[in-house]
């Protein structure tokens, strides 16, 4: 089918494609188009969680255990639900403190303890090597399966495993260890991982579709045939499934999803934007769901197919297409498995190498080199590269020895259980300020010891290196020490048993030892920075360094780890931000030293950064009391400054409000002045006329009677105008003043209209204007003052009559009902009101110049009074174009009359 050469060529071509994608990704990031800025890439890279275990092992598990593979993916789904709450906190802290691994995280939280970091690194290495071995085993096995059909393979299992390890080590070194600064993201590497996540998904879906719709006629057919087999039927209905083991696996995988070194690498270190969590929270679980839909069907098909009889379930994914002679599909499956395995190995070895180099190798280097020494960059990079090679070599050795017999999932679960030992200290350290370094160490070491005794150790029995009696009767015949039934806890599966004991010991030791003694000064400080990260955003800073380090020696120290150029850039950025001049600073500020420490931590880890800085700066010997005091002080200062900011914000708002009110008052004042001068002018005009005519009459007694009576008529008319003006002014003053209270009684608007129009009959007849009234029967009453409303009608109708052309004038008065209000309309066929004047005509003394023949002068106050009356009734008045080109005045009045019959004060607002 495929020659060895062709298969190797395909695998190599795929790996070359990965190198190309990673190279492109790095190039893009360098050009300012960082592929990591996409939340989709972030979510896909988190799918590095799905390894060869998922790709091959899930089906293997399902073939013997039905649904047993599923909790491994339900746990991460639950973890994603909590991601925004818990994981975001870890992310925030890691970014502020520049943390680069789970070992670094724990070391930093518990007083920058180098020892704790080293212990975590050891746990991670021991827990991860079998897991890496699992991947190498899967690659080698799938390779052999692909070739086995054409006789014995030219390549042995050992050769395949070793070459896979070598190629992956090369990839991890090339794309993962270029920069000495670990907080820098590996854009290319992560892009390649995201691509691999797509490949494994597509490959698995392809084989799933082929099995369900190619080998069978859909899901129904497959499940129906499986149900015919009693063993499979029992499996499908979860008969006899252990709910306890199920719950433990769910919980375990939740913890693994957060704390596995590679998940920390892609989820925390490679994250560029906190908001990506809100996309990955649903996208990643969706990915997991989709990739799991076909697991059970493939497993059932494998169990039922004669071609795979006797084969391990782990191989079904590859054997089913092979046995159906679907070579191209088999190769796709092989590539999918290769993606799953390689992505895990690359990221995991990178994460582990960082821990090994920073937490195991560097402390020794620092101790050896003393306070003076050369450039640390090369030794650091070299130790990381060597660590990658070493971890992969260990994985390879494990894969060709002990691990071969066990199924993929059982190896993986042992690793998960080891990593779960990191959970109590991490979660506790995140929320409990009282957790101490000693407590974390006790819990971690205790839990890890129990794990080692109950899970990996018994597997030595299977390989014959320990006698079987070790399991059945316990070491030295001590039955209460049996590794699978510790202290008589019998009847659990080994994994649940181990987790119960190890996590119990872990948590009890962690909490118990933590409560024995209070945390030390540095621990106390770090505890606050971690636990209260959302409250203070890393602002809680206790000066732990005294200011006796010369800037020059600080600069020299940083250059040894970061190189001169990078050091200069970082220091300059800090100085610019703080507004200080570094060249004129002889002794470094404590803040500068703290900044240098964090800067260094991104490369060396928190613990080593502290050690390195101690060689140039003096650490203050504060006792816990002083640290707590300082912390409280800073917290108070921060709280006070926040309060101050709030207060000044309030003051600003208040003063803006005052300014606005002042502005308004000035405007009112100006309006009043205008009003007074206009009023004086309006009053003077008739007065002047009266005086002038009176003087004429007085000075010319010889005037004839006709003239006299004409002048007297003018005087009387002007006098009448004057009194009308004064009456209107008083009326307006009453309406604007607060003293006038209107009676609110139910008023029939139709009646009001009839009365108002009747009063104007005379005027209309004298001008030959026709008034038409339309008011339907049975209108609801409005609440108001009857006399005032009649005044409104008279004002509007008399205005209309005055502005109509004489003889052909037509005024239409109507009352209509509209939702919750009555609408009074007064329409004329006069010249209308231009749109620009529609608001102004309601102001005092605003009359628009309209050519009206025989116009009877108004006072200019009628509409102003009308508007105030309407406003006091809770209504509105406005003007529109009438149908015949004249003006249409509309008044709306609410009809809530009956509800409030008692007199209420209808006051005009200020």
């Amino acid at each position: 089918m495929w020659s060895t050469g062709a298969t190797v060529a395909i695998a190599l071509a795929y790996v070359a494609l990965l190198f190309f994608i990673a190279w492109r990704g790095d190039r893009q990031a360098a050009a300012g188009r960082n592929p990591l800025a996409s939340p989709w890439i972030y979510a896909l890279s988190l799918a590095v969680y799905c390894t060869a275990w998922t790709f091959y092992g899930s089906v293997g598990r399902a073939a013997t255990d039905g649904y047993g593979f599923l909790p491994i993916y339900l746990g991460p789904t639950l973890a994603c639900a909590l991601g925004w709450v818990v994981y975001r906190k870890i992310l925030r802290i890691a970014k502020i403190e520049r943390l680069t691994s789970i070992a670094d995280f724990l070391a930093s939280r518990f007083g920058k303890s180098a020892f704790l970091g080293a212990v975590v690194a050891v746990v991670a290495v021991v827990g991860t090597v079998p897991y890496i071995a699992l991947q190498l085993k899967a690659v080698a096995t799938s390779f052999q399966l692909l070739l086995a059909r054409d006789g014995p393979s030219a390549l042995s299992y050992e050769q395949l495993s070793l070459s896979a390890a070598a190629v992956l080590a090369l990839f991890a070194i090339l794309f993962g260890t270029r920069s000495v600064d670990l907080t820098e993201q590996h854009a290319g590497l992560v892009l390649a991982i995201a691509f691999e996540s797509l490949v494994k998904l597509v490959a698995f879906l392809a084989v799933g579709l082929f099995v369900v719709f190619g080998l069978y006629e859909g899901f129904g057919d497959l499940f129906a045939r499986a149900a015919a087999d009693p063993a499979l039927a029992a499996m499908l209905s979860r008969q006899g499934a252990s709910e306890g083991a199920w719950a433990w696996m769910t919980f375990l995988s939740l913890l693994a999803f957060w704390f596995l070194p590679r998940q920390f690498q892609v989820g925390i270190v490679e994250n560029v934007d906190e908001r990506h969590l809100s996309t990955s929270a649903w996208l990643l679980p969706l990915y997991l769901l989709v990739i799991n839909v076909f697991v059970l069907p493939i497993a059932l098909a494998g169990r039922m197919s004669p071609a795979t009889a006797g084969a391990s379930g782990d191989t079904f994914v590859l054997l089913l297409p092979l046995s159906a002679d679907r070579a191209e599909l088999a190769v796709l499956v092989f590539l999918g498995g290769l993606s799953a395995a390689t992505s895990m190995v690359i990221v995991e070895s990178l994460a582990i190498s960082n821990m090994v180099a920073n937490d195991l190798v560097l402390p020794v280097l620092l101790q050896r080199s003393g306070s003076v020494g050369g450039d640390f960059r090369q030794p650091l990079l070299i130790s990381r590269r060597l660590a990658i090679v070493a971890v992969l070599l260990l994985g390879h050795l494990y894969a060709i020895s002990a691990g071969v017999g066990a199924s993929l999932i059982s190896i993986g679960l042992v690793s998960f259980a080891a990593v779960a030992q990191l959970a109590p200290a991490t979660l506790g350290g995140l929320y409990w300020a009282g957790a101490t370094r000693r407590g974390a160490l006790a819990g971690l070491i205790g839990g890890f010891a129990v794990w080692a005794y109950t899970l990996p150790l018994p597997s030595l029995v299977a390989t014959g290196r320990l006698p079987a009696s070790f399991l059945s009767e316990g070491p030295l015949g001590l039955s209460w020490l049996r590794p699978h039934a510790l202290f008589g806890l019998d009847g659990l599966d080994p994994l649940s048993h181990s987790l119960t004991w190890s996590l119990l010991v872990n948590v009890v030791a962690f909490v118990g030892v933590s409560s024995l003694a209070a945390p030390g000064p540095v621990e106390e400080r770090q505890a606050r920075r971690f636990v209260d990260v959302f409250r203070y955003r890393g602002e809680v800073e206790v000066p732990v360094w005294s200011a006796d380090a010369p800037v020059a020696s600080l600069r020299a120290l940083l250059s040894r780890f970061l190189g001169e150029e990078r050091t200069e850039r970082a220091l300059q950025a800090w100085a610019d931000e703080q507004g200080v001049d570094l060249d004129h600073m002889g002794q470094a500020h404590p803040e500068l030293i703290a900044f240098a420490e964090r800067l260094l931590a991104g490369t060396t880890g928190a613990a080593s950064a502290r050690v390195a800085l101690a060689s140039v700066a003096q650490e203050k010997t504060l006792d816990v009391g002083e640290v707590v005091e300082l912390l409280d002080e800073t917290s108070r200062v921060i709280a006070a400054s926040r309060e101050l900011a709030e207060k000044s914000q309030e003051l600003e708002t208040a003063s803006a409000e005052l300014r606005r009110v002042n502005e308004q008052l000035r405007e009112l004042d100006r309006l009043k002045d205008d009003f007074l001068s206009t009023m004086a002018h309006e009053l003077r005009t008739p007065l002047t006329a009266i005086r002038a005519f009176a003087e004429i009459l007085h000075d010319n007694p010889e005037l004839d009677t006709e003239k006299r009576s004409e002048f007297l008529r003018v005087i009387a008319k002007e006098n009448e105008r004057l009194s009308r003006l004064i009456h209107d002014l008083l009326d307006l003053a009453r309406l604007e003043g607060k003293e006038e209270r209107m009676v609110a009684e139910p008023v029939d608007l139709a009646e009001v209209v009839a009365d108002g129009v009747a009063a104007l009959d005379q005027l209309a007849a004298s001008r030959g204007v026709e008034i038409e009234v339309t008011a339907p029967m049975g209108l609801p009453p409005v609440a108001g003052d009857r006399d005032r409303l009649i005044q409104v009608v008279i004002n509007l109708v008399s205005n209309a009559v005055r502005f109509c052309p004489a003889a052909t004038g037509h005024v239409a008065v109507s009352v209509q009902r509209r939702r919750g209000e009555l609408l009074l309309g007064v329409e004329d066929n006069g010249p209308g009101v231009p749109p620009t004047e529609r608001e102004a005509i309601f102001e005092k003394f605003r009359q628009i110049a309209r050519p009206v023949s025989g116009r009877q002068a108004g006072t200019g106050l009628g509409l102003a009074i009308t508007r105030r009356i309407v406003a006091r009734h809770g209504g509105r008045i406005w003007v529109e174009d009438a149908a015949e080109g004249g003006a249409l005045f509309l008044v709306s009045l609410p009809t809530r009359a009956a509800d409030a019959p008692q007199p209420i004060p209808l006051l005009l607002g200020a």
Binding site: T77, A81, L82, E243, W246, R275
Partner: protein
């Protein structure tokens, strides 16, 4: 800050609901030989609860305006 706190509360509630839905009491209850549309009962139950949980998470975490 209140919408943020509300979001956290919702997500914690979803976590608890999911933890319950994926585990013993309801899960043991559907561990029966029956089928739904030809698919085994536990299979349908697990994947349905799973899909609903993902949908609920997506609704709960979606960014507020201006974020």
């Amino acid at each position: 800050m209140i919408p943020d706190r509300l979001r956290s509360a919702r997500l914690v509630a979803l976590f608890l609901l999911g933890a319950l839905g994926f585990n013993a009491p309801p899960l043991a209850g559907v561990s029966l030989p029956g089928t739904v549309l030809g698919l085994p009962l536990p299979y349908v139950y697990l994947f349905t609860v799973w899909a609903l949980l993902i949908l609920a998470i997506a609704l709960a975490v979606r960014p507020k305006r201006g974020e």
